[in-house]
Each structure stands twice: as structure tokens, then as C-alpha cells.
């Protein structure tokens, strides 16, 4: 059964997305430092190393669609079960780095080109 947390989180993030936040709102970040922070702070444990999401533990992350303010707000005051990460634990700049890392990841191959997926 789909975890209800995913539903609430998705709903919350959708609201942020509609509010007009966009990728260009993010402070300048460093993708390499972002990956390091993504690992250091354990984001990958629930969301996967590419932010691809896992079925039960954390949704797919789509920073470009959500925008930096929404991502920051979810991190600081998360809806539902996600633990909060305050500025004591992770700075705004580090969040910006993570945002940049996720936003610059390649899309991946066309699923139709992968025989294993057919």
C-alpha cells in the first residue's frame, strides 16, 4: 500500500510549486558539494542517490519543478513524516548545493531504448 506520507508530501509540494517558486530562485550552488552533502546528511537513504525516490521511504525529488524556496521550506518545516533539518544541522548554502546537484542530474536514457524494460 502506498505510504500515506507520500500523498501528503506530494500534496504539500504541489502547493509550493503552484505558488510560483522556480529554479532560478535558488542561490548559486555547487553540484559536487551538493552530492557530498546529499550523502553526508543522509538524504540519499530515503530518496536514493539520484533523488529518484523509493516506494515506501521517500518520494522522487524534482527540484526544478518545485523551486528552491519550496525545497527549503519542506526541509526546515516538513509536512508529515519527513524529519526536519534546521539551520543548526544544514545551512541554506548547503541546501542550495544539494538543490543544484539534483537540478543538474541528467534525465537518463529513453526507456524505449532499454531492452531490459520491455
Amino acid at each position: 500500500m502506498t505510504n500515506i506520507r507520500n500523498f501528503w508530501l506530494g500534496a504539500a509540494l504541489a502547493v509550493f510549486a503552484i505558488s510560483g517558486a522556480a529554479a532560478q530562485d535558488a542561490p548559486k550552488g555547487d553540484a559536487k558539494a551538493g552530492l557530498a552533502n546529499f550523502q553526508k546528511y543522509g538524504c540519499y537513504t530515503c530518496h536514493g542517490i539520484l533523488g529518484q525516490g523509493t516506494l515506501r521511504d521517500g518520494p522522487k525529488l524534482n527540484p526544478t519543478a518545485l523551486g528552491y524556496p519550496a525545497v527549503l521550506q519542506q526541509l526546515r518545516t516538513p509536512r508529515y513524516e519527513m524529519p526536519a533539518y534546521t539551520a543548526v544541522q544544514i545551512s541554506d548554502q548547503q541546501v542550495a548545493d544539494i538543490f543544484t546537484y539534483l537540478a543538474t542530474l541528467p534525465k537518463g536514457p529513453d526507456p524505449k531504448s532499454l531492452k531490459q524494460l520491455q
Binding site: Q52, T54, E81, L114
Partner: protein, 642 residues
């Protein structure tokens, strides 16, 4: 026995007499050596027992031979065990008197493994397997696997040794391995137990145990085989009276027919009925019966995967959009749901652990058919939270399906049929686009390092999709990708989970499943976590020794990853800033175990650690060739957390 005869004290009739005489003479000869040169050292007596009181050295048919007769009558094909002196009589009878066939002795390196193999075997073979455990200590080892099977309502015959009579126990060890009440260790997690004091009692208890464990709700049973009873010869006057009862035609307990008619009425009155299944399918006929009901009433099915209930690609299977489906329901038919309360409620992992009702139709009607209330014990809390149902029907859900189908046919009007058919068509349309969405998700993570679970699962699919495969392991730590993207088309492709989530289930239970699949000619592929694997690596030796074909893939995230997330949650909640510490006690790294080397050491073909996703296909092909030759193989794949 009407006349108590002690082990090692019975003269096994006239046939044994010559041997007794020979043995006694030999002893006498040793005790009274021929004249030797004088010595200052006094002769050492070989025994302090009077030579005219030596017990017999050979005997005829024994109690444990008769126990093998019983096992054969019950058609027990395999008995998994690691040897123990409290059942040495039965062990010897199985391999010699019974010719090591039906049952065949399957050697394991841990009793937990033996019991877990029984768990997996039953879920494929649909008939029980036995395990034989050493008195006290072996049973303690086996207890977690027995609990998993109990919570999963799976039968297994557990035979425990015991030396019940203090007067015949040898000093020290046999006391440590004997108990006044051997079954007390597992009584809370078995359906029934007995410690028979006679062979006739043993026969009847074994057949009763088989009958009880295979009647829903199913669960393990324990029979203690007394050491004296095993090793004593059977007096001729007793032997001719022994009788093994026969199990003849039996049925499973179905729901009350009047209540089932009411259920049909409620389902036909509903605008949006939904079926929820979890521990539902008891036989391979279960999915077909379920689909018949679902098609008749035009209801989507949401499946909890604890049994192989429904093909994942059937358009009525809405498990991948479960919340949306359940939210629109005005009537839920819950078939062996396990956690009925949890269908409509939730306890989120927040500081205060609030109880949150899920968003449901306020006029929702809940029909429950299942055996959950038919075997509830007090101590372990696997019975879950109490839930209100509008109609509760105690009974085996699969056994009740024919009654429900009949009731629906009887009550369904032409207008009902038209409405249900129309709804059925609409429901089927809703799942059409899901497959493409899932493929896009996996493509996104295709080249990830560590290797993503989606890539791992789909590379394996590419290897098995043209085979007659079976996948016995749990998938929740693999984001359920097999249920989302494989074509799980036959009623034997999967077998659900452990029951109690006792880690160390998957690796040995998969081998039990593989043993059953070997007899059916099916290919077994098992994906196990490194945490699970490390609980029972000796399973690999059993696989190699008995040539049980299975492909093990270790989904190696080098951690107890669930616990990494748990500790991270605790640390974040408490505003602890040192994130490095979340890995203390949760990583299986530094050094990283080399599972391929471990497997090779147990005699398997193995490759790894595989860290590049591009290397997966070749490694899988090579391993699959080995498995197709009838042998086990293992691949160690360094993977993302989930």
C-alpha cells in the same frame, strides 16, 4: 507402553541372544586377561559393571523406526536438520531404516535455517515439510523462524528431541538438552504441541498435528520425540497393536453461508466496491476465484502481497494506486487482511505517534472474511489492533469464495450485471498508463552508482522473463519493482513475505522454496539483503551439498539500511548535528564483507562485488548458466539503499 522397558536394558527376543552372549564373553575376556609377566602396576578394570549384568548390544526394530513409518504415511518428503544427540535414534532410522527417502534428510548448519526452509517449502509445495531440532538448544535456535511461520500462518512439523526420563539421561549434557516441558519455548507460536509417552500416542499425535497444522488458520506444530521412545526396541506384543491413523477427506473452514449471502447483498448495493487481499490465496486456485468475484462485481483489487493473490498486470489489480482506490470505495471486501484496522487508519512516525484515520468514504461499509480471529494467542501481538467491521465472517477466505460466487449469481439482477460490467470496464482503464510511468522512473536511475534497485531488478527480469521462474523473496526493500514492472503472471511466481519480519527469513526460506521448485522444474531467483544474508550464510552450504538450484543475489547496501533511516530520524528529531554517528551500529562495512568469497568458500559459483551496473547482465548470464545446470550460484551486487 503397557510394560515400561528401558533403553539399553531390553533383550530383543531370542534373535538378539547370540549377540548378547558374544558381547558378554568379549567383555569377560577383556576383564580377565591371560597371564602376563609380573608388573608393579595393577591391572586397570575395563568396566566397573559386573560382567554378568551387561546390557544387550544389538536390538531389532525400534521406536524411531516406527516414527519413520509415520512420517512416510504423512508423505513428508524432506526433513531439515542439523544433528543432535537427543534425536540420534530418529536420525539413524530416517537414513537407514527409511532409506533416506520420504523423508530425505536435508542437512543444515543452523536450526533457524531448518525451520525457515520449511516455511519457504510449504509456500511453494503447498504441503508441509518437517524440521528436526535438538532438545532445548536446537529448539531455541529455531524459535524465530517458527515465529515467522506462525505469524505468516504457514504450517511446519517441528520434531524436537528430549530425554524425558531423568534416570536414563547421561550425566551433564543430556540434562542440559532435556526439559520437563520442551514445547514451552514455542507454545505461544505454535498451533499445537505434544510430548507423547508411547508409540501409539506418538502416531496419533503426529496425525493430529498434521491435521491441525494444515487446517486454516495454519501454523507450526511441535511434537517432542522422547529419546527412550526413539531408541528402545518395540516389544513384539506392542508392535502388532500399533496403528497409524489415516487422514482421509478433509475440508477447510468456510464462512457461514447466511453471512456470505449478506455480504453479496452489500457488495451488489455498493457503487464503488473494492477488494483488499493480503494473506488470501491458500492454493494456486485462489487467484482465479478472486478474479471471478472481482469481475462479477466490477471491483478493483488492492493487494498486500503476503500471498500470490493476483497477477500484477491484470487490469483489475490497482495495488499501485492503492490509496486512491481505497479512498473512493463505499464498500471494502477485505480477504484475510491481517491488519484490518490499518486499512483505514494510520500511526505516522511522528513524535507523538498520533492515530490518524485515513481519508475514506464516510459511508464506507467494511466486510471482513478471514481466519485472523480463529487463532489468537495472548502474548505475542501479531493479532494487530482491533477493528470494527460492518460484517465479519470468520472462515478461510479462499474456501468461502465459492459460496460468495454462488450468492452473487443468485442475487444479481440483470440491472446489477449491466452496472457491474460497465464499472469493470472503467476500472480496467485506470491502470493502463502505469507501466509506462514506472519504466520512466527506472530509466532515470538506470546508470546510478551504487547500483539502483530498479536497474538490478530489471536486469534480472531480462534474464528470467523467458523461463519458468519463481521469486520467493520479499521486495519491499527493492521498492517493490518486481510487482511494478515484472509480468507476474502465474499463481506460483511469488509467495509473499515472512509474516513477522524476523530478519534472516529470506535467505533460508528461499532455499526451502527452491527445494520445492526443484521438484517442479522451476527456476528460483532470490534477492536478499546483506543484513538478511548475514543471519544465515550457512544456507549456501546446504544449497551446494544438496545441489538445490537457486540464484541468490545479495542486494548489498552494506548496512542495516532501515535502521540507518531510523537513527537518522531520531538524530534529526533531536537536532543532533553529527551525522556521522548515524552509521554507528548500522553499517555492515569497514571491512565490507566479500559475499562472493564467502559463497565460494561454501562451494558455490559466485561473482562480486559488482559495482558497475554495466557488469550486471554478464554476471547474471554466467550465474544463470550454473543454476540451469542444477546448482546454486550467488552474485554480490553493491546497491543503493533501497
Amino acid at each position: 507402553m503397557s510394560k515400561k522397558i528401558k533403553r539399553r536394558q531390553f533383550l530383543a527376543g531370542l534373535a538378539a541372544a547370540p549377540a548378547v552372549s558374544v558381547a558378554a564373553s568379549a567383555t569377560k575376556a577383556m576383564a580377565q586377561p591371560a597371564a602376563q609377566p609380573a608388573s608393579s602396576v595393577p591391572p586397570i578394570p575395563m568396566t566397573d559393571r559386573p560382567t554378568n549384568d551387561m546390557p544387550p548390544q544389538t536390538i531389532g526394530k525400534t521406536g524411531s523406526d516406527f516414527m519413520v513409518d509415520i512420517l512416510k504415511s504423512l508423505d513428508i518428503q524432506y526433513i531439515a536438520s542439523c544433528p543432535g544427540s537427543t534425536f540420534r535414534g530418529l536420525h539413524e532410522s530416517i537414513i537407514n531404516y527409511g532409506d533416506n527417502k520420504s523423508p530425505e534428510f536435508i542437512t543444515t548448519l543452523h536450526e533457524d535455517t531448518a525451520a525457515a526452509m520449511c516455511h519457504g517449502y510449504y509456500k511453494v509445495a503447498k504441503k508441509p515439510m518437517a524440521c528436526m531440532v535438538h532438545g532445548t538448544v536446537g529448539l531455541q535456535h529455531a524459535s524465530m523462524a517458527i515465529y515467522n511461520a506462525f505469524a505468516d500462518r504457514v504450517p511446519m512439523l517441528v520434531l524436537s528431541g528430549n530425554i524425558g526420563n531423568p534416570a536414563t539421561r547421561q550425566v551433564y549434557i543430556e540434562w542440559n538438552h532435556s526439559a520437563q516441558d520442551q514445547a514451552a519455548t514455542v507454545r505461544d507460536i505454535t498451533k499445537w504441541d505434544d510430548q507423547p509417552a508411547s508409540l501409539q500416542g506418538f502416531a496419533e499425535s503426529m496425525v493430529r498435528a498434521y491435521d491441525l497444522m494444515t487446517t486454516a488458520p495454519m501454523a507450526p506444530v511441535l511434537i517432542t520425540a522422547d529419546g527412550d521412545l526413539q531408541e528402545d526396541p518395540i516389544p513384539p506384543d506392542i508392535e502388532k497393536k500399533l496403528h497409524i491413523p489415516k487422514l482421509k477427506m478433509r475440508s477447510q473452514p468456510s464462512g457461514d453461508v447466511m453471512a456470505v449471502r449478506e455480504a453479496a447483498k452489500m457488495l451488489l448495493a455498493a457503487e464503488n466496491p473494492v477488494i483488499y487481499t493480503n494473506r488470501y490465496a491458500r492454493t494456486e486456485n485462489g487467484p482465479a476465484l478472486l478474479l471471478q468475484v472481482a469481475e462479477m462485481i466490477g471491483a478493483p483489487v488492492v493487494d498486500g502481497h503476503m500471498r500470490m493473490n493476483i497477477s500484477n498486470r491484470h487490469p483489475l489489480n490497482h495495488s499501485q494506486r492503492s490509496e486512491a482506490t481505497l479512498q473512493q470505495a463505499d464498500c471494502i471486501l477485505a480477504l484475510e487482511p491481517i491488519f484490518l484496522w490499518g486499512l483505514n487508519n494510520y500511526v505516522p512516525d511522528l513524535v507523538t505517534r498520533p492515530n490518524d484515520p485515513r481519508r475514506r468514504n464516510p459511508n464506507l461499509k467494511l466486510i471482513h472474511i478471514g481466519t485472523e480471529s480463529m487463532m489468537t494467542k495472548a502474548n505475542y501481538q501479531d493479532f494487530q489492533r482491533y477493528a470494527e467491521a460492518d460484517l465479519s465472517i470468520p472462515g478461510d477466505a479462499e474456501a468461502t469464495m465459492p459460496l460468495l460466487i454462488e450468492a452473487l449469481k443468485t442475487q444479481m439482477s440483470a440491472a446489477d450485471k449491466a452496472r457491474c460490467d460497465g464499472r469493470c470496464a472503467k476500472v480496467k482503464e485506470l491502470t493502463a498508463k502505469q507501466l509506462e510511468q514506472f519504466r520512466e522512473r527506472v530509466a532515470f536511475e538506470w546508470d546510478a552508482k551504487p547500483i539502483s534497485s530498479g536497474r538490478l531488478v530489471m536486469e534480472l527480469w531480462d534474464q528470467i522473463k523467458n523461463e519458468d521462474w519463481m521469486m520467493p523473496t520479499e521486495t519491499q526493500f527493492l521498492s517493490d519493482w518486481p510487482y511494478r514492472l515484472w509480468d507476474i503472471d502465474k499463481p506460483y511466481r511469488t509467495m509473499g513475505g515472512s509474516g513477522a519480519q524476523g530478519i534472516g527469513y529470506n535467505t533460508p526460506a528461499a532455499l526451502g522454496a527452491a527445494l520445492a521448485n526443484k521438484d517442479k522444474g522451476r527456476l528460483t531467483v532470490a534477492m536478499v539483503g546483506d543484513g538478511d544474508f548475514n543471519m544465515a550464510p550457512g544456507v549456501l552450504w546446504t544449497a551446494a551439498h544438496h545441489k538445490i538450484p537457486i540464484l541468490y543475489i545479495v542486494h548489498n547496501n552494506r548496512a542495516y539500511h532501515q535502521e540507518v533511516m531510523m537513527i537518522l530520524r531520531m538524530a534529526s528529531r533531536r537536532q543532533r548535528v553529527n551525522h556521522k554517528n548515524v552509521y554507528v551500529g548500522t553499517l555492515i562495512d569497514n571491512p565490507a564483507p566479500d559475499y562472493a568469497k564467502i559463497a565460494q568458500g561454501y562451494g558455490l559459483f559466485a561473482e562480486g562485488p559488482i559495482t558497475d551496473p554495466k557488469d550486471l547482465a554478464g554476471a547474471m548470464r554466467r550465474a544463470m548458466d550454473v543454476v540451469k545446470r542444477g546448482e546454486p550460484a550467488l552474485l554480490d551486487v553493491v546497491s543503493d539503499g533501497r
